[in-house]
C-alpha cells in the first residue's frame, strides 16, 4: 500500500491545479488518472478566445500545469482507474500500486457525455462530439470526410468549427428527433433559446450572426432566426428545423435520414437522405459522480448543474470527512472554472493541515466567479442558480 497526504483522482484542469497548490505547501500528492497522459478534457480544447484575442490551446495549458506539478514532485499514476474508495483508501486497477492511503481525497473526475441513441447510433463512424474533439484537436486525425452533427449546443457548434478548420467537410448541425427515450430539448425554439443564452455573450455565434440586434431583444431575434430553415455559422449550416431520425449503413455510416420539424418540434413525414460517412452525437454532459457514490457521499439532483452531483459546501467539501470535489463533478462548466475550483479545493484541504488561512480560501472562492465571467464557453444557462441551490441544500443538510 502506498501512503501520501492527498490523492487526487483526475488529472484534468481541476486536479492539476489543485496538485500544484497542495505541493507548493509541501504536501505529498499523488494524482491518479485512467488516461495515459494528463490534461483530461483540456486536451481537446482548441479555439479562439475572442475577448482575449488569443487561441485557447488546452494541450499547451495542460502541459504547463503538468510540468509545474512534476517540478513540485507531484507523483502521477497513469493508465490507472480508481474503482473504489473506502475509509480514505483508494483502490486502483494498477498491477503494482493497488491501494493508496491518504489523509484527504480530491475527486476531480470531470464529466461524461450523455448518450443520444437514435436508430443506427452503434454503427462504425458514429462518435460522440467529445471523441470528435479529441481526435481532431489532440490527435490531429480526420475522423471522416463528410460529417454531420446531431444535437445543437455550444459544444457541438464549437467542435464543428474546429473540424472545419481542420479541413473536414462539415455538412451541418441537426437536431435529434423528439422522443420520450431521449428526453432532450428538441423543440427548435427551445434549442435556439438555450444555445443563445448558454454561450458566453461576447463569443456567442448566434449573437454575432444576428449582429444588428441588440442583446436584450431575445424573442425578436429568435423568431427572426427561426424563420430561416438554415443558418450559417462560420460557413457551417445549422438546421434548427431539421432532425436526423436514422443513421444508415451496412457496417459503416453511409447516410442519414433527415426530416423537417415544425416549430413545436413535431417531426413531419417527408424524409430525405443525406450522404455522410461520419455522425457526431452531442447529447449534453453529465457530472461523472460514480466515485463519490462509491465513497458514500450524499448525492442530490440539481438539473441546473447538469444532474446528479455530490452534495458539497461552498469550499468544496463533501458530506464524507476528508473527501473534496472540484471541476465538472460539481456541475458542468468550462476549464477556467475547473481550474479555479481546483485551487479552492486545495486550499480547503490545506486548511485541514493548518496550511491555509480563511482569507486565502475567500480569495480562491472569489476567483471562481471571475473565471466564470471570463469563460469563452457556458454550458448551462442557469449555472449560478444551480450553485445557489447547492448552497441552500448544504445548509439544509447541516440543519438535518
Amino acid at each position: 500500500m502506498m501512503k501520501c497526504d492527498v490523492v487526487i483522482i483526475g488529472a484534468g484542469p481541476a486536479g492539476l491545479t489543485a496538485s500544484i497548490e497542495l505541493a507548493l505547501k509541501g504536501l505529498q500528492v499523488v494524482i491518479v488518472d485512467e488516461n495515459y497522459r494528463s490534461g483530461g478534457r483540456l486536451l481537446g480544447q482548441l479555439y479562439e478566445d475572442r475577448r482575449k484575442k488569443r487561441v485557447w490551446a488546452g494541450k499547451i495549458i495542460a502541459k504547463d500545469l503538468a510540468d509545474k506539478a512534476k517540478a513540485l514532485s507531484v507523483k502521477f499514476l497513469f493508465d490507472t482507474s480508481v474503482w473504489k474508495i473506502e475509509d480514505k483508501k483508494v483502490f486502483l486497477s494498477n498491477e503494482v500500486v493497488k491501494v493508496i492511503e491518504a489523509k484527504a481525497i480530491l475527486l476531480a473526475t470531470g464529466a461524461i457525455e450523455k448518450a443520444l441513441p437514435i436508430p443506427g447510433w452503434q454503427k462504425v463512424g458514429v462518435v460522440t462530439v467529445g471523441a470528435a474533439q479529441t481526435f481532431t484537436n489532440l490527435h490531429n486525425v480526420k475522423i471522416g470526410q463528410n460529417v454531420i452533427f446531431v444535437g445543437i449546443d455550444p459544444l457541438s457548434i464549437s467542435v464543428a468549427i474546429e473540424m472545419k478548420h481542420a479541413g473536414v467537410n462539415v455538412k451541418g448541425l441537426f437536431l435529434p428527433p423528439t422522443t420520450n427515450l431521449l428526453n432532450q430539448k428538441c423543440n427548435p425554439k427551445e434549442v435556439l433559446e438555450s444555445v443563445a443564452s448558454a454561450a458566453g455573450m461576447a463569443t456567442n455565434p448566434i449573437y454575432r450572426l444576428g449582429g444588428k440586434f441588440v442583446h436584450g431583444a431575445y424573442t425578436k431575434l429568435l423568431l427572426h432566426l427561426l424563420k430561416y430553415k438554415q443558418l450559417k455559422i462560420n460557413g457551417i449550416p445549422i438546421y434548427f428545423r431539421k432532425a436526423v431520425t436514422q443513421i444508415n449503413g451496412r457496417a459503416e455510416v453511409q447516410s442519414v435520414n433527415v426530416r423537417s420539424l415544425k416549430i413545436d418540434g413535431e417531426v413531419t413525414e417527408v424524409e430525405k437522405t443525406l450522404h455522410v460517412d461520419t455522425v457526431c452525437l452531442s447529447g449534453g454532459l453529465l457530472p461523472l459522480i460514480d466515485l463519490s457514490q462509491l465513497a458514500n457521499c450524499v448525492i442530490i439532483d440539481i438539473p441546473e448543474l447538469g444532474g446528479f452531483v455530490p452534495l458539497h459546501n461552498e469550499h468544496l467539501k463533501t458530506t464524507v470527512e476528508g473527501i473534496y470535489v472540484a471541476g465538472n463533478i460539481t456541475g458542468i462548466e468550462g476549464a477556467q472554472v475547473a481550474m479555479a475550483q481546483g485551487k479552492l479545493a486545495a486550499r480547503s484541504i490545506l486548511r485541514e493541515f493548518n496550511l491555509s488561512s480563511e482569507n486565502e480560501i475567500s480569495v480562491a472562492f472569489n476567483e471562481i466567479e471571475k473565471a466564470r465571467i471570463l469563460s469563452p464557453i457556458t454550458f448551462l444557462p442557469e449555472i449560478r442558480k444551480g450553485r445557489q441551490i447547492m448552497r441552500d441544500k448544504w445548509e439544509e443538510y447541516l440543519k438535518r
Binding site: W83, K84, E86, K89, F91, D290, L294, N296
Partner: protein
C-alpha cells in the same frame, strides 16, 4: 359491476399479479411509488432455477412456475430473453459432492430431472470451466429470463386489458373501515377498490404496520458485478456449490456473514452478471471493496478466462427474506379485503408467474389449485389458527 382490485408494487410479482387478474376480467389498478421494476426486480439476477430449491412446497411451486414461463413469450407477444438452457451447480471437492449427492436424490424423488455429472462432462457444456472443478449437478429444466422485460411485458399486457397504472405514486397507508380494507391513500390522492394486494416486496412491512400487523420480511442485501459485453462464456445458469452446501447444512451465518458465493448468468447483450453475497445490513446499499474482490476471485477460480475481463459496474438489490425461506402468499389474516404476495427472497423471478396466478385465483374465486397453507401469513402468528 366488475370487481376492482388495487395492486401495490410494480415489481415482477405485482405486475404478474396484475396480469393474471386482468385475464380474469377484473378492473385492476397497479400502483408503484417509483416505476415498473424499480425495486428488487430491477436489481437482481435472471435465473429460473429449480435445482436450487429445497424439495417441498417451494420446489413444487417453482416447477409449476417454470411451466408457465415456457409459453410466456408467446402469450405476452414480447421477447423476454427466455432461454431454457439448463443449469449447473459446480462441485469443488468431495465434501460438497457428498452433500449435493443427497440433495439431488431428494429432488429426483420430487420429480426434478437433475443428475450429477463429471467435471469433464460439465466442461463439455461449459468449455471455459476451470479444470479444477471436480463435478457438477446438471438440470436441463433450469431456465433464465430477463426480469425487467418480464415485468414490463406483464404490465403492458395488463394495460391492454384495461388495467390502470399509477407510477411515481406512493401508497402512504391503507384505508380500513370496520376490519375491511377499502382503499389506499397515496401521494396522488385516495384510490378505492374492492380489495388490495400488497406486492411491495421488502417494503411491505411499513404498509402492514399501519394496520398494526407485522410480517418478518427483512432485506437481505445482494451484490452483483457486471462485466463488459463478452462472447458466450457460459452456456447455462451457474451456481457455486459452496453456497448451496452451507445452506443445506444450515451453517451458522457467522461462518460467512457476508454470504459470499458464486452465481453467474450471461445476458442476451453479452454482459456477465456475477453474484453474489447475502447479507443482513438493513437498506444500506453501499458496496465494499472486500465483497467485490471476493466475488471476482470466486468467478475467476471457476472460469479462469475471466482474469482479464473488465467489470463495468456493480449493483445492490434487497431480497425480501423470510425466516423460513418461504414466500408469504394469500389473505392477510385479521382484516378482510387484503392480500399479500411478498417475501420471495432469492426466488421472486422464478416464482412470479405462479404467484400471480394463485393470487388471481384466490382474489376472484376464493380458492386455488395449489394448497396455499404453507405460504399463509398466519404461520408467523403464534396463537392464530387458520
Amino acid at each position: 359491476m366488475k370487481q376492482k382490485v388495487i395492486v401495490i408494487g410494480a415489481g415482477i410479482i405485482g405486475t404478474s399479479v396484475a396480469y393474471y387478474l386482468s385475464k380474469k376480467d377484473v378492473n385492476v389498478v397497479l400502483i408503484d411509488a417509483k416505476d415498473i421494476a424499480a425495486g428488487t426486480s430491477g436489481a437482481c439476477d435472471k435465473a429460473i432455477m429449480l435445482q436450487s430449491k429445497k424439495s417441498g412446497p417451494t420446489l413444487a411451486m417453482a416447477m409449476k412456475s417454470a411451466e408457465l414461463y415456457k409459453n410466456l413469450e408467446e402469450e405476452l407477444g414480447e421477447d423476454l430473453e427466455y432461454e431454457n438452457g439448463g443449469g449447473m451447480i459446480l462441485i469443488n471437492n468431495e465434501e460438497e459432492l457428498k452433500v449435493l449427492y443427497e440433495h439431488v436424490q431428494k429432488q429426483r424423488e420430487a420429480g426434478l430431472k437433475v443428475t450429477i455429472i463429471t467435471g469433464d462432462e460439465a466442461r463439455k457444456i461449459n468449455p471455459n470451466l476451470s479444470p479444477k472443478i471436480l463435478a457438477a449437478t446438471w438440470c436441463e429444466q433450469d431456465a433464465e429470463v430477463n426480469p425487467l422485460k418480464t415485468a414490463f411485458a406483464y404490465a403492458k399486457a395488463a394495460s391492454k386489458a384495461n388495467m390502470t397504472m399509477h407510477l411515481n405514486c406512493k401508497v402512504t397507508n391503507l384505508i380500513e373501515v370496520n376490519g375491511r380494507v377499502i382503499g389506499v391513500n397515496t401521494t396522488q390522492g385516495e384510490i378505492y377498490g374492492d380489495c388490495v394486494v400488497l406486492c411491495c416486496g421488502v417494503w411491505v412491512t411499513s404498509l402492514l404496520s399501519s394496520l398494526h400487523l407485522e410480517v418478518p420480511i427483512m432485506p437481505r442485501k445482494g451484490v452483483i458485478l457486471v462485466t463488459e459485453k463478452l462472447p458466450k462464456i457460459i452456456n447455462c445458469n451457474i451456481l457455486g456449490g459452496s453456497y448451496i452446501v452451507s445452506k443445506l447444512q444450515k451453517e451458522p451465518p457467522e461462518k460467512n456473514p457476508l454470504g459470499i458465493g458464486l452465481s453467474m448468468g450471461q445476458t442476451k447483450s453479452g454482459n456477465l452478471l456475477i453474484g453474489g453475497s447475502r447479507e443482513f445490513a438493513g437498506f444500506d446499499s453501499s458496496v465494499n471493496s472486500f465483497i467485490l474482490t471476493e466475488i471476482a476471485k470466486k468467478a475467476i477460480a471457476a472460469f479462469p478466462c475471466l482474469q482479464h475481463v473488465n467489470l463495468i459496474r456493480s449493483f445492490v438489490g434487497f431480497r425480501p427474506f423470510t425466516p423460513d425461506n418461504l414466500p408469504v402468499i394469500g389473505e392477510v389474516p385479521t382484516v378482510s379485503g387484503l392480500y399479500i404476495a411478498a417475501g420471495h427472497e432469492g426466488d421472486g423471478v422464478a416464482l412470479a408467474p405462479i404467484t400471480g396466478q394463485m393470487i388471481a385465483e384466490i382474489v376472484t374465486d376464493q380458492t386455488t389449485e395449489m394448497d396455499l397453507t404453507p405460504f399463509h401469513m398466519s404461520r408467523f402468528f403464534e396463537s392464530f389458527t387458520y
